[in-house]
C-alpha cells in the first residue's frame, strides 16, 4: 500500500492553525524547505498517525485539534483507500475509511459508528471507547480484512531523524529475548545483532558494501564489550559470556585498530546506523515507508551525494516508499527535481510545490542549466521564468 496524498490540519480556524497543502507523494520524495518551514512537522504528522494506527502510541489528551486525510493507492479507482481521522483532547471526533467507491467504516465523536462486515455481508453497528481508533480496535481478518492493509502500512513505517545520534550513545543491554522495536531507531546495536544472528554474512556484507559506497571503507564490523568496561584488564581475561553489554565496532581499512561506536565520528555513525537499520528492515520486514528527517546533516559534499544516491537506489527497487527532508544544498543537488516538493511557507500554511501541481515550472527549470539547489534558492519554484522581457544590452 502506497501513500499518495496527505491532507493535514492542526487547530482549524484558530490562531494556531497550521495546514499542509499539496502534499502528494511519489515513491521517492525529497521535501525541501527553509528552516522552520514545516519539514519536520510534515514527517511528524505522518509518523504520529502511523503510530496511532498501529497501536504504538495512544491518543493523549491535548488541546490540539488534528485532522488527517490520507489517500493510498490512488492510481487504481477501485483500490483507492481514503482514511480520515479527526482528534481533539485525546478523543476521536471522526473516523472514516473508504475503499474504492465504498464506505467501509464511519464513526462519530461518541465512539458509535457503522462498519462493513465482510462475512455478514452488511454494515454492523458498534461503539468503542472515544479514545480508541476503529482501524485498530476492529482489526479482524475475517469480518474487516481491509483494515489489515492500513495496519501493515502503519506498523512498518519507520521514521529516522538523521540529525540526531541515531543510537551512537546507546549500548545493548541483555534483552532476554525481548522483541526489538524497529521504530526505536536508537536501538541500532540490538538491530545489528539481530541482523547478524538472523542473516549472517549476507547482512554484514550488505552493510559493508553500502558503507563503502558512501565512502567509508570498513573491513570488519561487529559487536564487543565496550572498552571502558574492560578497564585495565586484558580482554581475554574477561569471561565474555557473562558480560552481555555490547557496542558496535568497525575496522576501517586505513586504521590499525578497530573503532568503537562512541569514537566514530558523528557523520559516519549516522550513516552506519541508518545503513544497518535499513538493511535489516529490507531483509527482515519489508518496510512500507521510510521517513528520514534532515538527510545528509553532518556529512560532507561527497558523502551526502553518495548517501542520497544509495537511498534512492534502494527505493527505486520499489520495495518501500521514501520520504526525506532537507535544506542541505549537496543533498538537493543529488536528487532529481522530479522527486522534489518545495515548501512555500505562509502564515499557518505549508504549501508544497511539486511536479504534480507545478509541472511547467519544474520542466522549465531544466533549461536553465542551474544546479537543483538554485531551483530552491532563487525561488524559481514559485515564480518560474515570470513573463519578463529579455532586454539585450
Amino acid at each position: 500500500m502506497k501513500l499518495d496524498l496527505i491532507s493535514y490540519c492542526e487547530d482549524d480556524n484558530l490562531a494556531s492553525e497550521w495546514r499542509l497543502e499539496g502534499c502528494r507523494l511519489g515513491n521517492i520524495n525529497l521535501i525541501v524547505g527553509k528552516n522552520a518551514s514545516g519539514k519536520t512537522r510534515i514527517l511528524r504528522s505522518i509518523n504520529l498517525l502511523a503510530s496511532l494506527l498501529c497501536g504504538n502510541r495512544n491518543l493523549h489528551p491535548e488541546k490540539k485539534h488534528r485532522n488527517w486525510t490520507l489517500t493510498f493507492d490512488s492510481d487504481s479507482e477501485n483500490n483507492q483507500k481514503i482514511y480520515k481521522l479527526i482528534t481533539q483532547d485525546g478523543k476521536v471526533l471522526e473516523e472514516k475509511y473508504d475503499v474504492g467507491n465504498k464506505n467501509y467504516c464511519t464513526r462519530g465523536s461518541l465512539g458509535k459508528g457503522k462498519i462493513w462486515a465482510t462475512q455478514v455481508g452488511n454494515y454492523i453497528d458498534f461503539q468503542i471507547p472515544t479514545d480508541e481508533l476503529v482501524a485498530l480496535k476492529k482489526r479482524d481478518t475475517i469480518q474487516h480484512p481491509l483494515f489489515e492493509d492500513i495496519f501493515k502500512w502503519s506498523n512498518s513505517l519507520i521514521s529516522y531523524q538523521f540529525g540526531t545520534d541515531l543510537g551512537r550513545r546507546i549500548i545493548d543491554f541483555p534483552r532476554n529475548q525481548r522483541k526489538i522495536d524497529l521504530r526505536d531507531t536508537e536501538q541500532v546495536v540490538a538491530i545489528f545483532k539481530s541482523g547478524n544472528r538472523e542473516f549472517g554474512s549476507s547482512f554484514i556484507e550488505a552493510v559493508k558494501s553500502d558503507m563503502s559506497s558512501v565512502g567509508y571503507n570498513i573491513t570488519n564490523i561487529g559487536t564487543k564489550i565496550p572498552g571502558i568496561l574492560l578497564a585495565e584488564k586484558a580482554e581475554e581475561e574477561i569471561d565474555a559470556k557473562n558480560i552481555k553489554i555490547e557496542c558496535i565496532f568497525v575496522q576501517e581499512n586505513d586504521l590499525k585498530v578497530a573503532t568503537e561506536q562512541f569514537l566514530i565520528s558523528q557523520g559516519m555513525f549516522r550513516t552506519l546506523s541508518l545503513i544497518i537499520q535499513i538493511n535489516y528492515l529490507l531483509k527482515a520486514n519489508k518496510p512500507s515507508c521510510i521517513l528520514i528527517d534532515d538527510i545528509g546533516e553532518g556529512l560532507d559534499f561527497e558523502r551526502s551525494q553518495a548517501m542520497i544516491k544509495l537511498l534512492i537506489n534502494k527505493a527505486e527497487t520499489g520495495l518501500f516508499q521514501l520520504v526525506m527532508t532537507t535544506n542541505d544544498r549537496f543533498i538537493m543537488n543529488g536528487v532529481p527535481l522530479e522527486y522534489w516538493s518545495v515548501i512555500e511557507r505562509k502564515p499557518g500554511l505549508a504549501k508544497l510545490h511539486n511536479i504534480n501541481n507545478s509541472r511547467e515550472i519544474f520542466e522549465d527549470f531544466k533549461f536553465t542549466g542551474l544546479n537543483n539547489f538554485d531551483f530552491f534558492a532563487t525561488d524559481f519554484y514559485l515564480e518560474g521564468f515570470e513573463e519578463e522581457e529579455i532586454i539585450e544590452e
Binding site: D364, F365, F367, G369, F380, F385, I390, E393
Partner: protein, 246 residues
C-alpha cells in the same frame, strides 16, 4: 585596453570565433588568449591553448574559453564572471548550439524551435540570477541548430573545398540549397556538412584539421556584412561583438 570574454561549447566554436575576431579586427589591435576548461563540475581545470603577446598597440584583449560541453557554457560563465569583472572584463558572451543529445529524438522543426525558445529563456534566466559586485553585461547566443548552420549559410566556401561542390550539385543530390534556403531550419547542420563532404568522397567528423580547413576558407566579409542580416543567430553573436568593439 578593453577586455572581452567569450565562452564557447567546443573546439569548432573556439576555432571559428578566434578566426572571426582576427578577420574583423585589425591584426595589431587585438590580442587573443584561448583556454580550455575541462573536468567535472567541482573540479574544473583550465589549460592554456593560445596566448598572444600584448603590445602597446593592443586595443582589444579577448579571452576565449572552450567549456568542453554545451551545458558547461553558462555554468562556467556563472563561475567565472565575478573574477572576470574584477579583472576589468567589460562584457561576457556565451556561444553554444541548440542541438544537443536531449533533443536528438525530436523530429519536427516546431519541436526544435519550441526547445530553442525554452533553452534561450532558461539560459538567460540563469545569467540574470548571477549576483556580481560590479555587474557587466552577459549575453548568451544559441547557434541554430548548430554553428555548422553558419558554415552552411556561407555557401561561397564549398567550391574552395572542392570545385565539384556547386550549389546545383548540393541541391540536386541533397535536396536543399545553402544559398536560397534558411539554414537555421536545418535540424542537424553538422550532418548536412558531412553529407556535402561525402559528395566528393570526404567526410566531416569535427576533427581539428577539418574545422581549421573549413574555417580558413570562410568568406568573413560575406559573413560580417551580409549574413548577419539573414542568419539571425549569427547576427546576434556578431552584434554583441560589435557592441564591445564600438
Amino acid at each position: 585596453m578593453r577586455k572581452l570574454a567569450i565562452f564557447v561549447e567546443g573546439q569548432t566554436e573556439q576555432i571559428f570565433v578566434e578566426n572571426l575576431l582576427r578577420e574583423i579586427v585589425e591584426k595589431n589591435h587585438i590580442s587573443i588568449e584561448v583556454k580550455k576548461i575541462s573536468g567535472r563540475k567541482k573540479h574544473r581545470v583550465s589549460n592554456p591553448i593560445v596566448k598572444d603577446q600584448v603590445t602597446i598597440e593592443t586595443r582589444f584583449y579577448v579571452l576565449i574559453y572552450d567549456s568542453s560541453g554545451d551545458t558547461q557554457v553558462v555554468s562556467d560563465i556563472r563561475d567565472q564572471c565575478e573574477s572576470l569583472s574584477s579583472n576589468g572584463y567589460e562584457r561576457i558572451i556565451g556561444l553554444r548550439d541548440v542541438y544537443c543529445k536531449s533533443i536528438a529524438d525530436k523530429t519536427s522543426l516546431d519541436e526544435y524551435i519550441a526547445y530553442k525558445l525554452s533553452l534561450e529563456r532558461g539560459l538567460h534566466y540563469s545569467l540574470s540570477t548571477v549576483i556580481m559586485t560590479d555587474p557587466i553585461p552577459m549575453n548568451i547566443v544559441l547557434a541554430v541548430m548548430e554553428i555548422e548552420s553558419w558554415f552552411l549559410s556561407e555557401w561561397n566556401h564549398f567550391p574552395k573545398i572542392d570545385a565539384k561542390l556547386t550549389l546545383d550539385k548540393i541541391q540536386t543530390d541533397l535536396g536543399f540549397n545553402p544559398k536560397t534556403d534558411n539554414m537555421e531550419t536545418r535540424l542537424h547542420p553538422s550532418s548536412d556538412i558531412d553529407k556535402i563532404y561525402r559528395l566528393v568522397g570526404s567526410s566531416y567528423d569535427k576533427n581539428k584539421d577539418q574545422i581549421n580547413s573549413i574555417v580558413s576558407k570562410l568568406d568573413y566579409e560575406f559573413l560580417y556584412l551580409k549574413l548577419i542580416h539573414t542568419v539571425p543567430s549569427l547576427g546576434k553573436f556578431i552584434g554583441y561583438i560589435n557592441l564591445f568593439l564600438n
